[in-house]
Symmetry: C2
Amino acid sequence: MIRRLCIVGVGLIGGSLARALREQGYCHHIVGCSRKADNLERAVELGVIDSYETNLAKAVTDADMVVVCVPMGAMGAVFRAIRSHLAADAVVTDAGSSKRSVIEAAQQAFDGLPPFLVPGHPIAGTERTGVDASFASLYRGRKVILTPTPNSAPQAVARVKAMWEASGAQLIEMAPDHHDEVLAATSHLPHMLAYNLVDMLGTMQQRREMFRYAAGGFRDFTRIASSDPVMWHDICLANSDALLAAVDGFAASLAELRTAIADGDSETLMDCFTRAKTLRDAHIELDAP
Amino acid sequence: MIRRLCIVGVGLIGGSLARALREQGYCHHIVGCSRKADNLERAVELGVIDSYETNLAKAVTDADMVVVCVPMGAMGAVFRAIRSHLAADAVVTDAGSSKRSVIEAAQQAFDGLPPFLVPGHPIAGTERTGVDASFASLYRGRKVILTPTPNSAPQAVARVKAMWEASGAQLIEMAPDHHDEVLAATSHLPHMLAYNLVDMLGTMQQRREMFRYAAGGFRDFTRIASSDPVMWHDICLANSDALLAAVDGFAASLAELRTAIADGDSETLMDCFTRAKTLRDAHIELDAP
């Protein structure tokens, strides 16, 4: 149980967590914090949070759980703003999409890694943003990866774990660098590919036509290109090493596929497509909701 | 109205057309043809076709409309097999994903482009295949592109157009090369990217993990990697010129994005993602069903 939950950044991610925990009666009070009062008022109106604060220091005062759900680029500033105002029993976690950079930002902000910090990342979301897009079941059956630091107190880890489990998620622990590599390949790279494809089509002369004749496959493929630009800008910078490695791996692999197409190399094409289909079909079965 | 419709290749595309036309009472008789008798028996069982033939020459005899829905690589062989057996009033169309190659195959098979040939391409489909995946509403509200040759008889074009309209589709005419360029960019390229991404992840050491932590975005992005490998192998070879140009454009654009990530070039990243999101959001509104 959480006495006072402070959600910093009440959008899709923070809002959905608040909704899920409220549904479970897991918190006595949920306070939301962000710079935008109108968004917070909307969150109160929707019943997502009980109260709000636009001042971070006030927002975290007396909170026993603080969940930071802001774009990667704002993590450091949030940590600095709350560092002197946390309650003695407070645990701090985040929902950032890359973990090494959050840990580095925390290390600077807190002058070392504090025992109350447990970095985390819910593998869930949609291309929509904002508290209006939030819903209580977002995390049900989804994975949340925790990347505790060497200094994270076991009890703090247990409390963050229990919170996410209450939201319906399945918890996994992982080393931060490993998390960043896996996510670069399975999430950050696909977003780059989708953004790049849509942007490229937009520069073509027959631009309107390009979109007019795009079929259902295109719609699904590019759905993630509707994601929040600021969030993805920040992820690119925060996880650039792992992301660049993933982009390079993809580009090299695409160059091989290009050669196969140019050479009419049936065997290579069939092998590639068959392997991919087999993996993808198995993946669907494995993870079907 | 069609007296006797012959569907060559009774899978998702041909089966769905048959179902749609049957629902509209648009055909007196639908005969299916393919090399696989068990698939055709299944199609009769499902009520998709009235009868079947495994012999192409017999199948087209007396048909006033022949729709060839086979992988691109099989088009030429089908045209050669039917050329001497078509009825005097027969119109022949196809559902191939690239049009220049179909026209070239027809030119060879028929010794020139016959007036009864009207190449076409329904911009619809799912990653599923086979007659069991077919459904009557597949073409409802979707676009069908016709690419008549200089020799196509206006009346033949009108009959093919009327057939697809009866299935609920919206008809467009386009030059074959233009069709091939647009489809290379909006359909063939995305399929290559999805196949390439899944295949690349499959070769990584942490392969099982890669798929285990993939979220909803990945699922959508890679859905088309579950498409039929034979069909896509054939499309790669049939539309290689336009596809290679699209792959090269994408690779060049990805290299620029890579530079922006490596340089921490916020402006370029924000510009790219914002342009893409704006286009994609507008595209969704434009085409939402």
